[in-house]
């Protein structure tokens, strides 16, 4: 079968301007230099800068068949958005060639072109036409869009008076009713409340059920795995793997887990004379896969490898968690026990408290009979990323609300009329 999208040797480079760091210049020198360069190249007027090429994409090639749902994954700055922008014809590649066969609609942002002064009704038409729908098409779907967004009452209110939730719902409703043959979607589901996200995902699955091709960027592996059939993994502008989604996601977790998810503990010279020592820390998801960044809202575990040089009575290993500003958050001790010589590992599971996005410091301590013999601050770091979306149907969780994002139990009781 002829592929609907064919990408060959695609590269995109950007020119980065960097401030020249000269030691000391007088204003007169600067002015004279500016005056000289003014005649040479007006662009150099944008202050003393030097140019440097940056490759956002490098020799990327793949094919997409009709009806494929492709998940494009990779870390921040891997080139995912650049790829989508080139496919959407917003920016031009530096090298390479793409052949696309079919009607393309791209959704790189929810509510592109929404005008705050216009009413909901007017914005549906404006946004629809920006996304490539014809007037007749928008008219025929208008009622459906409004019903999907659940904003019937506010149709003739300027959107600047909308709540952010209503705004996003309306914007997404328009996009959800696009009917192109190829749909390109950047991480746009990360907005809106959980319930609406679910509705949108359902809608996208419906759409792909009708034989449409979808290219989808997300940091949320769960969503990608649910929605997509194939995957493309990018890292620093290069294509690392493409193929069935499960293997690509697995590769992603593998590649990016190593390094940042593993911390070697530096040991003193006499560590072999000590009773024992911890030497390695792994940050993992709850199933034991190494993970450099834990998606917010997901449980995680820390695996610490340690060695005992002889039999240690009443051995305890402890893991402490502090903020980067050394505020202690939590310390967990293993129950004391006599352990014989050998290599061990211990797993500290954190599945009850959900910490907010950010970096946390790990502390490891070993003791025997309450006398510590190893204590390492900053033994490793735990990174919780906010790129994933919370899947909680019952509550809205704001990730800026505090260090701990678990919700308390709440009861509202009516006391009087």
């Amino acid at each position: 079968m002829e592929p609907v999208i064919k990408v060959e040797h695609l590269s995109k480079s950007y020119v980065l301007r960097q401030q020249n760091k000269t030691s000391y210049t007088t204003l007169r020198d600067t002015l004279a230099g500016k005056a000289r360069s003014l005649f040479a190249d007006p662009s150099s007027l944008i202050s003393g800068t030097s140019k440097e090429n940056f490759l956002a994409l490098e020799d990327v090639g793949f094919e997409v068949n009709k009806g494929d749902r492709i998940g494009i994954i990779g870390r921040n700055g891997a080139g995912k958005s650049t790829l989508l922008k080139i496919l959407s014809r917003i920016v031009e590649p530096t090298k390479g060639r793409i052949t696309i066969d079919g009607r393309v609609a791209s959704l790189l942002e929810v509510g592109t072109g929404f005008h705050p002064e216009l009413t909901g009704r007017e914005n549906v038409f404006l946004n629809g036409s920006i996304l490539g729908m014809s007037k007749a098409e928008i008219k025929s779907k208008f009622d459906e869009i409004v019903a999907f967004a659940e904003i019937e009452k506010f149709l003739d209110t300027p959107v600047k008076r909308y709540s952010s939730g209503m705004y996003v719902r309306l914007a997404f409703a328009v996009a959800a009713h696009l009917e192109p043959e190829i749909l390109i979607v950047d991480e746009v589901l990360a907005v809106g409340d959980a319930q609406f996200q679910k509705k949108c995902l359902g809608k996208m699955q419906d759409v792909s059920g009708q034989g449409r091709t979808i290219l989808f960027v997300s940091h949320n592996m769960e969503v990608v795995q649910k929605l997509c059939t194939k995957g493309i993994l990018l890292e620093r502008g290069r294509l690392i793997q493409d193929g069935p989604i499960d293997s690509v996601v697995k590769k992603y977790l593998e590649v990016f887990a190593v390094g940042d998810s593993m911390f070697k503990i530096s040991l003193p010279d006499d560590h072999e004379q000590q009773q024992g020592y911890a030497h390695l820390i792994h940050v993992e998801d709850i199933r034991g896969n190494p993970l450099a960044e834990i998606p917010i809202g997901q449980p995680w575990q820390i695996r610490v490898c340690f060695r005992l040089n002889r039999r240690v009575p009443q051995f305890v290993i402890a893991l402490g968690l502090t903020t980067l500003f050394d505020m202690p958050l939590r310390t967990t001790w293993t129950p004391p026990g006599d352990l014989s010589e050998g290599d061990y590992e211990v797993v500290f599971k954190c599945d009850d408290i959900l910490f907010t996005a950010g970096q946390y410091k790990l502390i490891v301590g070993l003791s025997s009979d309450r006398i510590p013999f190893q204590y390492v601050e900053g033994a490793g770091y735990l990174t919780i990323s906010d790129v994933s979306t919370l899947h909680n149907d019952k509550q809205i969780i704001n990730t800026n609300s505090g260090l701990i994002i678990n919700q308390m139990n709440t009861i509202i009781t009516r006391k009087s009329k």
């Binding site: 917003i90 530096t94 793409i98 696309i100 009607r103 609609a105 002064e117 216009l118 007017e122 036409s129």
Partner: protein, 281 residues
């Protein structure tokens, strides 16, 4: 969104560009519609501004040039009508030019998120100004009634000169808007061009004062006629003021050529640079 095979390459010439432009006429319509709707939102007198701004300027120009400066119109035409016949196309040009020159920057969120032929954005700004022009036309009709002046049959040629004004505004708007994407200096240059243009164009005075003067050397007259708005305004006056005004043909032809050159060069430069807009805006 049309059904055709798209090939994306570095520096590719999009053979379907003009066809694409036609296919995106819906977007063109909606962008113009948006600008018209938004223009006078949350203003008290709304669309009256389209009339009030040129009207006040006409009154001031008439007082300054005619009463204080002792200038007079050709062939006994009321001075206010002569100023109005120049002010309407000038106001149209200055609005269309400054709106379209700033339009790409004002719509930068669209440029970086959606594909469409970029030409649509500055072009739709010009259209909005045409609507303003028609509204402000009321002033001219009001002056005709006030002075009991009836324009001749030549007024049927007015659309031709409106087209010429559109060409001039579109050409310069496209050129400056493309430059503005890269060099924001133009944001400060645009108001200056508009202000400066008002004085070198025959808005407050008649072109015959330049062409008819014996003190002004011929070379200067030709330089004067290289301002495309000279041709436009002279044309408007010729059409509106009937037989009282004669067109200085060589000057008019130069103006028209400059207008056409501006349009073609504007489109050429715009097409050449538009592929990079999303990268640098």
């Amino acid at each position: 969104m049309t059904r055709h095979k798209i090939i994306i390459e570095a520096n590719s010439k999009n053979a379907n560009y003009w066809k694409d432009l036609w296919n995106y006429r819906g977007l063109f319509y909606f962008l113009s519609w948006r600008d018209v709707l938004v223009r006078y939102k949350q203003t008290v007198i709304g669309v009256l501004w389209s009339v009030l701004r040129p009207l006040i300027t006409i009154v001031i120009f008439t007082v300054v040039f005619n009463k204080l400066g002792d200038f007079s119109a050709d062939g006994g035409v009321p001075y206010a009508i002569m100023v109005c016949a120049g002010m309407l196309p000038w106001q149209f040009f200055s609005n269309a030019f400054s709106e379209s020159a700033n339009s790409l920057i004002a719509n930068s969120n669209l440029l970086t998120k959606v594909y469409f032929p970029r030409l649509i954005v500055p072009a739709s700004s010009v259209i909005v100004s045409i609507i303003d022009f028609f509204i402000s036309f009321i002033i001219l009709i009001g002056l005709f009634i006030f002075y009991q002046y009836s324009p001749g049959w030549k007024i049927i040629y007015l659309p031709v000169f409106l087209l010429l004004a559109t060409i001039t505004a579109m050409g310069s708007g496209l050129f400056i808007s493309a430059l503005n994407v890269k060099y924001r200096d133009f944001r400060y240059i645009i108001p200056f061009i508009v202000q400066f243009g008002l004085y070198v164009s025959p808005v407050g005075f008649s072109s015959s004062m330049v062409y008819g003067s014996e003190k002004i050397p011929m070379a200067v007259k030709y330089i004067y006629s290289m301002n495309p708005m000279v041709g436009v305004i002279d044309g408007f006056r010729w059409a509106i003021l009937g037989g009282q005004v004669n067109l200085f043909m060589p000057g008019f032809i130069i103006s028209v050529f400059v207008s056409l050159f501006l349009l073609f060069y504007g489109i050429y430069y715009f097409r050449k640079t538009e592929r990079g807009f999303a990268d640098i805006i």
